[in-house]
């Protein structure tokens, strides 16, 4: 009896999920910090704090990809 020793390749969707989660968490962290220091948000529409909602959206989407790609 032979055993297949070829390693199983991780799914591309897992890797996409991983980078989206990493970046999403960093941006969410920035967003939380900006929430505490709104004076730092000098850009147009800074009051919307896009880092917070866009970052958490990316992290959530990334988590779905990770679950889907496992």
């Amino acid at each position: 009896m032979t055993t297949d020793t070829t390693p199983k390749m991780v799914s591309i969707w897992f890797l996409v999920g991983l980078i989206l989660v990493i970046y999403g968490l960093i941006l969410t962290g920035c967003g939380v910090y900006y929430q505490a220091h709104p004076e730092l948000l000098t850009q147009k529409l800074g009051e919307l704090n896009p880092s917070l909602w866009w970052g958490s959206g990316m992290a959530g989407l990334g988590a779905i990809f990770i679950l889907f790609g496992r």
Partner: protein, 557 residues
């Protein structure tokens, strides 16, 4: 020097993570890259989703996004033609009609098909012209990337060129096409994550897209209603130029024959997935104007309000359209998001480069090295050659970039190469696949005449060789824009190649029919799709894509 964007520590961290991530992908994939099929065709095991996103992403360079965002400020909605009629019909045609011949003949490259259908000289002619085109384009991309980052961030030329070239060299040498495909898909998501938000925030600030469209001048706010006369629209083209030049010759020439994109479909696990690859990609292609045109319209309005000013081009001093998107990033993004936006642009540049390099190493290895220099090379030796070629290709690209930096006018030649190579090739492919009478001599000489025609017209415009009457005959316009000249240059190259191939074929001897089975439509049994459910059929999804395309065009008529 004065720059638009300033990076904080968190932005640098995001950029650094991207470099670590893609080099890590290369290192990880090395263990799966043992045979020629692994290195050059990613093991032929990808689904249509993976191959489809890579197919689209190989074309989705950062320069295109920057250029067309700025282009929207000049041409308005006409930019959408490049994403819709200028891409989708060709992608569907490739999936439905051409892919069966490409995929089923188990070739490694487009020149490989030319060898089977015509002969070795046609293959080598196309392989050499493709290899040269790819390397030069790759060098130009590298140069323009460095120019963009120098202008908006003040980055050193040499550092940005060498850092990205080394990273690409690393992961392609390690993992081959699979590395390129993985990073292209990561890039696709990063572009949406990093750049779509720019358009969203811009539209929030300015009150939505309908209001913006209503404010555009009539020459810019529609797709077809102003295409009756070249003088009525900002692009200076008529609907015939759009349909024939862009929608037919340029688009079909690129999407159906350019190995850089088609190679991604060859990595599919079976014929059905290969056929679905460009069809899947077409849906995502139709979405891209959401970023490009959306951000471009925002930039146009803000410029009209005097709230942004395009940066001057470092060489010409003219307002530089490519800086529109970075200006919007600076306007809306705080630290962190700036890093993501810059990473998206970097990823776009690098994925485009990786696409060029992976296509180059395949064509060199199989269609020049193995075909001409070492016919008995083993599979293991070819993988080694592919890795060496990757490094050589990167070095030559960097060399071309330095050349472009020194001699700016060579950019005109390099950017015109596409219509010298691909536009006539589409005629050669079309006749080869759909007319069994096409002969090897017809294919070869027709291709040469088509390429020469394109080159001659290019030189004629560049050095003003043509009289006014001649210009009118070639372009159907008295004062054609550069864009119109390009469109007609490609059209004439195609027409000459098509006509010459037919004429020469009629007086030369065709190949025996037995040698053309699987390569020509009338001699190949139709693929049996009887037991595939409707939702799995390429024809079904192509029909849906076509309906969406029509609806989009009617909506913005």
């Amino acid at each position: 020097m004065e720059t638009t964007l300033h990076l904080a520590a968190v932005d640098w961290a995001i950029i650094a993570i991207y470099f670590v991530f893609i080099i890590g992908i290369g290192l990880y994939l090395r263990r799966f890259t043992k045979t020629g099929d692994d290195f050059f065709l990613a093991g032929r095991k990808n689904s249509s989703w993976v191959a489809g996103l890579a197919f689209l992403s190989a074309n989705l360079g950062a320069l295109e996004i920057l250029g067309w965002t700025g282009g929207t400020m000049k041409y308005g909605m006409y930019v959408s033609h490049f994403y819709w009629i200028g891409a989708v019909p060709a992608m569907l045609f490739l999936g439905l009609y051409m892919m069966p011949f490409y995929y089923s003949s188990r070739i490694h490259s487009i020149p490989g098909y030319l060898k089977l259908r015509y002969d070795e000289r046609t293959r080598v002619l196309n392989a050499i012209s493709f290899a040269v085109m790819t390397l030069l384009m790759s060098g130009i991309n590298l140069y323009l990337m460095a120019l963009v980052f120098r202008t908006i961030l003040g980055w050193d030329w040499h550092l940005s060129m060498w850092a990205s070239a080394l990273a690409i060299g690393c992961y392609i040498t390690l993992g081959g096409l699979m590395s390129a495909i993985f990073t292209e898909i990561v890039q696709f998501f990063l572009i949406w994550a990093g750049l779509f938000l720019v358009a969203v925030l811009g539209l929030v600030e300015l009150g939505g897209i309908q209001g913006l469209l209503a404010e555009l001048p009539p020459t810019m706010n529609s797709l077809w209603s102003t295409a009756g006369s070249a003088g009525d629209n900002s692009m200076g083209v008529t609907w015939i130029g759009i349909v024939m030049g862009l929608g037919f010759v340029l688009s079909f020439g690129y999407w159906t024959t350019d190995f850089l994109v088609v190679q991604r479909a060859f990595s599919s696990k079976d014929l059905r997935s290969a056929r679905l690859t460009p069809i899947t990609a077409s849906f995502f292609k139709m979405l891209l104007p959401l970023i490009v045109v959306g951000a471009g319209l925002v930039a146009w309005k803000l410029q009209a309000l005097g709230q942004i000013t395009l940066l001057p081009h470092p060489e010409t001093g003219e307002p530089w359209n490519d800086t529109a998107l970075p200006l919007l990033i600076a306007r809306y993004f705080p630290a962190g998001l700036v890093g993501l936006g810059i990473t998206a642009l970097l990823a776009g540049f690098m994925a485009g480069q990786a696409g060029n390099v992976s296509a180059f190493n395949t064509v060199w290895t199989y269609d020049i090295y193995k075909a001409v220099l070492n016919r008995n090379a083993s599979d293991e030796h070819l993988v080694w050659m592919g890795r060496v070629t990757t490094i050589v290709g990167i070095v030559l690209s960097v060399g071309t970039a330095y050349l472009a930096m020194q001699f700016n006018t060579i950019m005109d030649y390099i950017q015109a190469i596409f219509s010298w190579v691909n536009a006539p090739l589409f005629a050669t492919m079309l006749l080869g696949m759909f007319w069994k009478r096409t002969t090897s001599a017809g294919g070869f000489w027709g291709l040469i005449l088509g390429m020469l025609t394109s080159f001659f017209i290019f030189l004629g415009f560049k050095f003003s060789w043509f009289s006014e009457g001649m210009v009118g005959l070639i372009t159907f316009s008295k004062n054609p824009s550069g864009m119109t000249q390009n469109l007609w240059q490609a059209c004439w190259a195609w027409i000459v190649c098509f006509g010459a191939t037919v004429a020469i074929s009629l007086v030369t001897k065709p190949k025996p029919e037995g040698e053309l089975v699987g390569l020509v439509k009338s001699l190949t049994p139709a693929a049996d799709t009887g037991d595939v459910p409707l939702l799995g059929r390429p024809g079904f999804w192509a029909a849906i894509a076509l309906v969406v395309l029509v609806v989009l065009n009617v909506m913005f008529w």
